[in-house]
């Protein structure tokens, strides 16, 4: 579908975007963050990076589960690498060693201490809970990073899904016009007044939605807004001479839409992308906060906000670190969005100033 070449105006816009440094660097920072979160297991995980046992090296991070018996322990279930590390260290003659990631905790794992202290545990370098734990002793930093990974992936996929829907429907309405447009518009209008949050809450109350169900539900209720832009854009381009020329040359409908109209209307959409991503993150977080989001136990910012709110006096570190991360990420996204909007501002390239 994207087999077309970017038109010169778009290329100019991209160059302009690069010149807006705040937005450009924000984009780079975002990409780095996403990239980092994709490989989060290497930095934050309760599974060791490398275990040297009996002269052999093991790399448990991405592999299948490793029973404790493999490393000379007396249990069949997944090795507790932190304890293994401690055991190897205590034995001075041992040549075995364990290399743990920077944060040796998983996001879903409870880490109640064996003494008489109870969570939430405050941030501490000694325990390697760098941002502390929540009320059931889960590491906050691990939850933040894995929660970010899920939120951003969710949001990106949601964006792709909604844009796909809205581009197809909006384009079709604009291109075919007439009765199809009339009926389509009414459907969009009716669909838009369905209170989206209620629908999600009702569905979530009946079945507990997983990642994909939630994605589908949310996509189904968020494509409408964009169809208006696509529809008007298509209407406009359809009447242009080059489209008429293409038709005269005998081009079929798909060719006209994909080769001629879409490339010229898509640029409107691009300006919306960052804001759609931000909206995706916030609505997922909001749903999780309300308890209607992803299944319990999935690391999520909404859950963190909730436990932070419940423990605001007892454990301010939860809410502080979550809110700061949210503000940071959403600010980055907004900077990118601003920059794109400015770069794509038609006034920049018009003679009618």
């Amino acid at each position: 579908m994207l087999g077309f070449e970017l038109n010169p105006v778009t290329r100019k816009r991209l160059r302009r975007f690069q010149e807006i440094r705040r937005g450009y660097y924000s984009l780079i920072a975002l990409v780095v963050l996403i990239g980092f979160s994709l490989f989060a297991e290497l930095f934050i995980s309760n599974r060791a990076l490398i275990v040297k046992y009996d002269g052999k090296l093991h790399f448990p991070t991405y592999g299948r589960f490793q029973p404790g018996t493999k490393f000379g322990l007396d249990y069949e279930y997944e090795t507790n690498y932190r304890k293994l590390q401690k055991k190897f260290r205590e034995d001075e003659n041992s040549k075995n060693w364990v290399l743990m990631p920077f944060v040796p905790y998983g996001p879903e794992e409870e880490n109640y201490k064996d003494n008489d202290t109870y969570p939430p545990y405050p941030p501490s370098r000694e325990t390697k809970h760098y941002l502390g734990t929540d009320q059931i002793a889960r590491d906050v930093l691990a939850q933040l990073v894995y929660g970010f990974r899920i939120a951003i992936m969710f949001s990106l996929m949601l964006m792709v899904a909604t844009y796909l829907l809205s581009v197809i429907i909006g384009c079709a309405m604009g291109y075919f016009g007439g009765l199809f447009d009339l009926i389509g518009q009414r459907i969009v209008e009716i669909w838009s007044v369905i209170p989206f949050l209620y629908v999600v809450i009702i569905i979530a109350a009946i079945i507990q939605p997983g990642f994909w169900t939630l994605l589908i539900i949310m996509a189904a209720f968020s494509w409408m807004g964009m169809t208006y832009y696509m529809r008007t854009g298509t209407y406009k381009e359809k009447e242009r001479d080059y489209t008429a020329a293409a038709r005269v040359l005998g081009a079929g409908t798909p060719r006209i839409i994909f080769r001629h109209i879409l490339p010229n209307t898509l640029s409107t959409l691009v300006t919306f992308i960052p804001f759609t991503v931000a909206a995706g993150i916030t609505s997922l977080t909001a749903l999780d906060f309300l308890g209607f989001g992803l299944p319990s136990g999935t690391p999520s910012w909404g859950d963190l906000l909730k436990s932070g709110n419940e423990n605001i006096r007892l454990a301010p570190w939860i809410i502080l670190s979550t809110v700061s991360s949210m503000v940071f990420v959403l600010t980055l996204v907004t900077f990118v969005g601003e920059a794109i909007r400015e770069a794509f501002d038609p006034k920049k390239f018009t003679t009618y100033r």
Partner: protein, 652 residues
């Protein structure tokens, strides 16, 4: 009585959402608008025809017909409830999580938590079980007599008994009670069934004397009758098809001490109980030291952490601290509010039937029908760690599904401990011998040992990750599903769950019930084609169907001998243990709370059989002390701290 089949559940949040956006909708309340909306109607003729038509149920006789050899009891010798020091007056402040959906106590949406204040804990029935001895002390009944041979209870009403609107309570109100509860108008099938099948007749002797008969002479047959509360016939005159709407916001006259005034109903925001100054039982033994505050104001505060903050500034009188995080951290003993003596902390050990918190395994599901898997799950559930870490060793492990029924509970049986080796051994017997890539057991056909663990208890959800993490060690995967209360209950009632973490509400009675949860008629039914299928909407949520157990249950139901019933109960507990469809969880042997020093409780704090400090309305408010405390707090003056444990009813 409705209590007995209901699981604690929350009203679905979404039903409440429209209520919170609304502005001042006071005008809607009250009856003014109602009169135009609901034309006058009168059910009296229909009621009289009903009595005539069902003459085998409704009997009319004369006082001469009362058997002469009856032994009348009044149990007035039972000890007083509450403290003679109690003073009437003052305003108590309390919190509601949700606004009540209706002021009706029967019919759609009426089974909410506020019904306790309209009916269950406030209104006066014929007699009530004494919270120390379980014997009946008199309420509306002045005295009563039990005729075991004829399965009939005779009742003489207290001549003083009056409804809160001044009408006397008469035999007709008890006749009407049956008409009301058997009527289709109330849209409450449970009541239709209960009042239609659990009683065989009512006989009027005069305006204040009647008798009620039951189908079986169980050891506690008196409770079937004495726990009945009448319905005011004069108030429900307009009963009809529009009953739910017509009576939605009308407060029913009560036999109890508290009424709700129309002006106190601020929908979505607050509601208040006002003490009825001319209450008929004001000076009656067992009742006179209770129901002390003049007003009890309830404010809707949805968010628990916000309610806690309100409590700490003194806008709420008390706050439940049973959860460890509140008791030890959020209001720790060294908190200035406690140390300065403004807020008192108390732990009270009660002794009552325990709600069976635990895992209920649905045997109608493919793998869970295998007993070895169920036993494996029992061994793989680390309740000890939950109790140790989440409940900080304050709670104890539950033993059977019917703990707390004194000698009716099994004397020696214990729940299976957490034991990975035994769990793995039993899973292996069921064919799950190999561990998959993620450490979860798989069988030869590739089935993963994975089940969904559902719960409707939002407030206890934080303990589930511990169970999940520990179960993984035994190769068992539990997928957690936290639904809202109503949905979880619905799913369970439709028997669509794998495993549910839940408890049944237990109320105070002599012996545990088995038929509802364990008899096979509540597990399976046969459809028209003769095919066996799962029966929905029953409380046998484990789909248990054991012929031997069925037999014992029927014997137990029919038995009229307490000793025999005990033996049968123990035997059934053993079978249930062997079947392993219920994994006993925890018992909370006490309740804990914090309260401001202007609230006073009796010297021994509360009664043995109570499930919360407020249940018996024993406290009283000292308005002087309230002023003093709030001023002292401003001025920095302090009082001696008070952190007390009442363990007179503690059982080890």
């Amino acid at each position: 009585m409705k209590k007995y089949l209901s699981i604690f559940f929350l009203l679905p949040a979404l039903l409440l959402l429209p209520g919170c956006g609304g502005g001042d909708n006071k005008e809607e309340s009250g009856e003014n608008g109602g009169d135009e909306k609901f034309p006058a109607q009168d059910v009296t003729a229909e009621m009289e025809a009903y009595y005539k038509e069902k003459s085998e149920f409704f009997h009319f006789k004369t006082p001469e017909d009362i058997p002469a050899d009856l032994e009348w009891t009044d149990n007035n010798q039972l000890s007083e409830i509450g403290s003679p020091k109690a003073k009437k007056g003052g305003t108590a402040n309390a919190r509601l999580q949700d606004y009540p959906a209706t002021l009706r106590v029967v019919g759609p949406d009426a089974n909410g938590s506020f019904r306790n204040y309209l009916l269950d804990e406030v209104s006066v029935n014929l007699a009530h079980r004494h919270p120390e001895t379980l014997e009946f002390f008199p309420g509306l009944a002045q005295e009563w007599a039990i005729d075991k041979a004829n399965k009939t209870v005779y009742v003489k009403l207290d001549p003083k008994a009056t409804w809160s609107d001044g009408e006397p309570v008469t035999t007709d109100d008890f006749f009407f009670m049956f008409f009301f509860f058997q009527s289709k108008y109330i849209q409450a099938p449970w009541y239709n069934n209960w009042y239609g099948t659990q009683y065989t007749g009512i006989t009027k002797f005069d305006d204040r004397t009647f008798s009620i008969s039951v189908p079986e002479a169980k050891p506690d047959m008196d409770s079937r009758v004495l726990e009945l509360g009448p319905k005011p016939a004069h108030f429900f005159k307009e009963l009809g098809n529009d009953y739910p709407q017509r009576y939605q916001w009308r407060f029913q006259p009560t036999t109890g001490a508290y009424v709700v005034k129309d002006s106190d109903v601020k929908k979505g925001r607050s509601i208040a109980l006002s003490r009825h100054k001319e209450w008929w039982a004001l000076d009656k033994k067992h009742w006179r030291y209770r129901f002390n505050p003049d007003r009890i104001e309830f404010k809707v505060i949805r968010d628990t952490s916000k309610a806690f903050e309100e409590f700490k500034v003194g806008n709420l009188d008390g706050f439940g601290l049973s959860l460890a995080e509140y008791w030890y951290q959020k209001l720790a003993d060294d908190n200035p509010l406690v140390q300065n003596g403004y807020i008192k902390k108390v732990t009270f050990y009660n002794d009552r039937p325990r709600p069976p918190y635990g895992l209920w395994i649905n045997q109608a599901k493919p793998l869970l029908s295998n007993k070895d898997i169920r036993i494996g799950i029992s061994y793989a559930s680390n309740w000890d760690r939950v109790i140790e870490k989440y409940f900080r060793n304050d709670y104890t492990r539950m033993k059977t599904s019917s703990d707390g029924f004194a000698s009716f509970s099994h004397p020696t049986l214990k729940a299976r401990p957490f034991d990975i080796e035994k769990a793995v051994e039993h899973f292996a017997k069921a064919g799950f011998t190999k561990r998959g890539n993620d450490g979860i057991l798989v069988d030869s056909t590739g089935n993963r040992l994975s089940f969904t663990l559902t719960t409707g208890y939002e407030s206890l959800k934080d303990m589930l990750p511990i169970l999940r993490q520990e179960a993984r060690k035994a190769g068992l995967d539990l997928k957690l599903e936290v639904l809202d209360g109503t949905s979880a209950w619905k799913k369970t009632q439709e028997k669509k769950h794998d495993i549910v973490f839940s408890a049944f509400g237990t109320f105070v009675e002599m012996y545990p019930r088995f038929w509802e949860s364990w008899h096979s008629v509540n597990a399976y039914e046969t459809d028209e084609d003769g095919k066996k299928k799962v029966k929905t909407q029953t409380n046998n949520i484990t789909s248990t169907a054991v012929p031997e157990l069925d037999e014992l249950i029927i014997k137990y139901r029919k038995s009229e001998d307490a000793e025999e019933m005990k033996q049968l109960a123990h035997k059934m507990d053993e079978i249930i243990h062997d079947e392993a469809a219920f994994v006993p969880g925890f018992v909370q042997p006490f309740y804990r709370m914090g309260y401001w020093r202007w609230v006073n409780y009796p010297d021994d704090f509360n009664v043995k059989i109570s499930d919360g400090a407020g249940e018996w309305f024993l406290s009283w408010i000292d308005e002087e002390a309230k002023k003093e405390t709030l001023e002292a707090r401003k001025a920095g003056k302090t009082f001696p701290p008070s952190i007390k444990v009442y363990d007179q009813y503690k059982i080890d």
